[in-house]
Symmetry: C2
Subunit: 108 residues, 2 copies
């Protein structure tokens, strides 16, 4: 995975190139949080056009980055999701959002 | 759409039967919020086994119910989602969770 930065209008765009998983999510977090900690980014956009797979640690990093940006009053968005990543995020965010049980027998 | 109630262990289960849309979401909200407002439900479970379609007003009602339950320190979950409703919720919660842009040209 490689990371590059670009300014697009008022947005700071972080281009992620390659898959994001437990083994390289630290690099992504470091890059993104350094940027956020500088406190000068009004709108952080993660460009995912070149990402075909992201695991739950990567989703967690995106969620954490969004949370931190919003805490600072900034904006956060995802750009150009591939079909595969879109599907992973759909399921991951649904799981984060609602607790879902398959049957009454599965209720705690 | 019809609504029925059941107690399953420590859970109050609200069984929704039929599709949820702008025209009947008020009935669902009334039933669910009356239950929540009584303040005696520790865990509210919405049984969606007999729902094949839910529109954005219905998703909004579920989100609002969950929020209110959590504010009261209670639990909230969805039970037995049909494939179609699962897909609708995946997209709706992803949209609620992240702002997603298809291209740089779409950035605000």
């Amino acid at each position: 995975m490689d990371i590059a930065f670009a300014d697009v209008g008022s947005h700071k765009v972080v281009r992620v190139m390659g898959d994001v998983d437990l083994y390289n999510v630290g690099d992504l977090k470091r890059a993104v949080f350094e940027l956020i900690d500088e406190g000068e980014v009004e709108s952080l956009i993660i460009d995912m056009a070149s990402v075909n797979y992201i695991d739950s640690s990567g989703v967690g990093a995106l969620v954490a980055a969004q949370k931190k940006m919003k805490t600072q009053g900034g904006k956060f968005g995802l750009l150009a999701l591939t079909e595969d990543v879109l599907n992973i995020l759909k399921l991951a965010t649904l799981d984060q959002f609602f607790k879902i049980y398959e049957s009454e027998a599965a209720l705690p």
